[in-house]
């Protein structure tokens, strides 16, 4: 029973996108593919505990999903002719796969198509490629489930009606299409890095690993694209700290308390190498984009053997550069965290308080305030801010961490 449950969870991580991609290829319809994949996994939940886990779960799921899709198409047989027509025109002829030979990348480029709104692209990729449920995606966006469900439904309808193609774009179109894909991959990485939901692992390595795998592939194809390299470096330097970030009892460990010896030295070295390449390009006059700046910030942190060795003035300078590119309140919040180390918590708190209008519904805003208030000895206000942060946080490890910090207040 337990074994089957684990096998299903593992198959979901490893096989969901492949099943959806294979079915989309075959039936030329994302909606059919998604529904059939979901039904196949539901059937696995019913059958595997009793019948045992099949020797090749991926093949079993694909076969089952194929059967479900054919059943649905037969039920709606009035659509048969249109279906065939769509399939013929929707798909590349065999043998014309682009340089990146991966079914899931076709799926990503379709989901991240520029004719869809950015929020829709991210939502669709998380559903179709990441296999996240609608409630999980809604939480990642801080929106309601109903609205998110409608957004995904409308997107699938547009892909079908406007015939958004299912393929990796041509070399000429590729660079422009990549930046949309990077935004999507970054969001998937972040959902993995700080997973939400009471029954979810605090860090979903499957999502971070998938985001890194796909970013590596795009980097291999476009080695000269600075933002692809920047995003890959950022992900690697973040992933390097993964095991040090959650304690044995499932509590988040803040950067200043992490065992730096537990960081993955190989990932740090690879990330630093990429950042150095981008710094050389910047020195040669190529203006860095936001992922490259974020990677550089991460490189400053991971270069310090002890938190006390952190070059905070460098971190703040990089955030200043970032704010000019992306004046979002979340960037301003992160900048304030660095300012607290350089200019003290009082200055940082003033900067954070100015963000209240925009970030009052964001747990990290309250968690940052709580920490600054604690350092200023304002326990009463700090406690209230921790309460609010705990109420809004969705990550189990983060909730455990915030709860401990609150309970340690005098």
């Amino acid at each position: 029973m337990h074994e089957a449950g684990e096998a299903i969870a593992q198959a979901h991580r490893e096989e969901w996108a492949r099943v959806v991609a294979a079915l989309t290829r075959r039936f030329g319809d994302l909606d059919v593919a998604e529904e059939a994949a979901a039904e196949a996994f539901a059937t696995a939940v019913e059958r595997w505990p009793a019948d045992g886990v099949p020797p090749n779960p991926g093949a079993w799921l694909t076969t089952t999903a194929n059967r479900k899709a054919i059943d649905r198409i037969r039920r709606e047989n009035k659509r048969d002719d249109k279906q065939k027509e769509a399939q013929l025109l929707y798909d590349d002829p065999p043998g014309t796969l682009g340089a990146i030979d991966d079914e899931r990348l076709r799926l990503i480029f379709t989901c991240a198509h520029p004719a869809l709104a950015m929020e829709t692209r991210v939502a669709l990729t998380l559903r179709m490629v990441g296999g996240l449920t609608v409630p999980e995606i809604a939480r990642a966006f801080l929106v309601h489930e109903t609205g998110m469900g409608q957004r995904i439904t409308r997107a699938k309808a547009k892909i079908k009606a406007a015939r958004i193609p299912y393929r990796v774009p041509s070399a000429k179109d590729l660079p422009a299409r990549v930046s949309g894909v990077l935004a999507v991959l970054f969001l998937i990485f972040n959902e993995g890095y700080l997973a939400t939901g009471p029954d979810t692992d605090p860090v979903r390595h499957d999502l971070t690993a998938e985001a890194i795998r796909l970013t590596r592939l795009i980097h291999a194809l476009l080695p000269e694209d600075g933002e692809v390299a920047g995003l890959l470096a950022l992900m690697l330097l973040t992933e390097a700290r993964r095991t040090a970030r959650v304690s044995a009892n499932g509590e988040l460990v803040a950067l200043d308390e992490q065992d730096r010896g537990a960081w993955d030295a190989a990932l740090v070295a690879e990330g630093h190498r990429l950042v150095r390449e981008r710094l050389a390009a910047a020195a040669a006059g190529v203006a860095p984009g936001r992922y490259q700046i974020l990677a550089a910030i991460s490189a400053v942190h991971t270069s310090a053997r002890d938190v006390r060795d952190t070059d905070w003035s460098q971190v703040v300078a990089l955030y200043d550069q970032l704010v000019r590119l992306d004046p979002s309140p979340i960037i301003a919040l992160n900048r304030a965290v660095a300012v607290a180390e350089l200019d003290g918590p009082e200055v940082a708190l003033a900067a954070v308080d100015r963000l209240e209008d925009k970030l009052a519904g964001y747990h990290a805003y309250h968690a940052t305030r709580a920490d600054l208030l604690r350092r200023l000895g304002r326990s009463h206000k700090s406690r209230a801010a921790y309460d609010k942060a705990i109420e809004l946080a969705g990550n189990t490890a983060e909730i455990a961490y915030l709860t401990r910090r609150r309970d340690e207040l005098g």
Binding site: L89, Y90, H113, A115, A161, A162, R163, I164, P165, P169, D173
Partner: protein, 108 residues
């Protein structure tokens, strides 16, 4: 698959065939590549009439069915295998007629 590519008057300049030769050359390219179905410019919305004969009596109204600041001043119907191709053609068309375009798939 056919797409309607409409040229929109949005108050920023006046889109239209200011350079007829460029539009003509573009249309020739569409024809040569098999994308051409139809194209034409439209008269001002004020020249429109609305006809409703669903009831017992025919009603003819002067003017467009919707008074809007932005309106269609011309259109192409283009044949394209998918949206990527349609968007690429529309990008070219937007330059040629110096206007903002809407690309809308036909229902079948």
């Amino acid at each position: 698959m056919q797409y309607m590519v409409s040229v929109i008057q949005d108050g920023k300049g006046s889109p239209g065939p200011s350079d007829m030769a460029a539009v003509g050359a573009f249309n020739e390219r569409l024809k040569a590549a098999g994308h051409w179905v139809f194209a034409n410019g439209l008269a001002e919305p004020a020249a429109a009439s609305v006809v409703d004969n669903r009831g017992d009596e025919l009603v003819v109204t002067d003017g467009p069915f919707l008074e809007t600041k932005e309106y269609v001043v011309g259109l192409w119907i283009m044949q394209a295998p998918d949206l990527d191709v349609a968007l690429r053609l529309a990008a070219e068309a937007s330059k040629v007629c110096d206007g903002k375009l809407e690309v809308r798939p036909c229902a079948s």
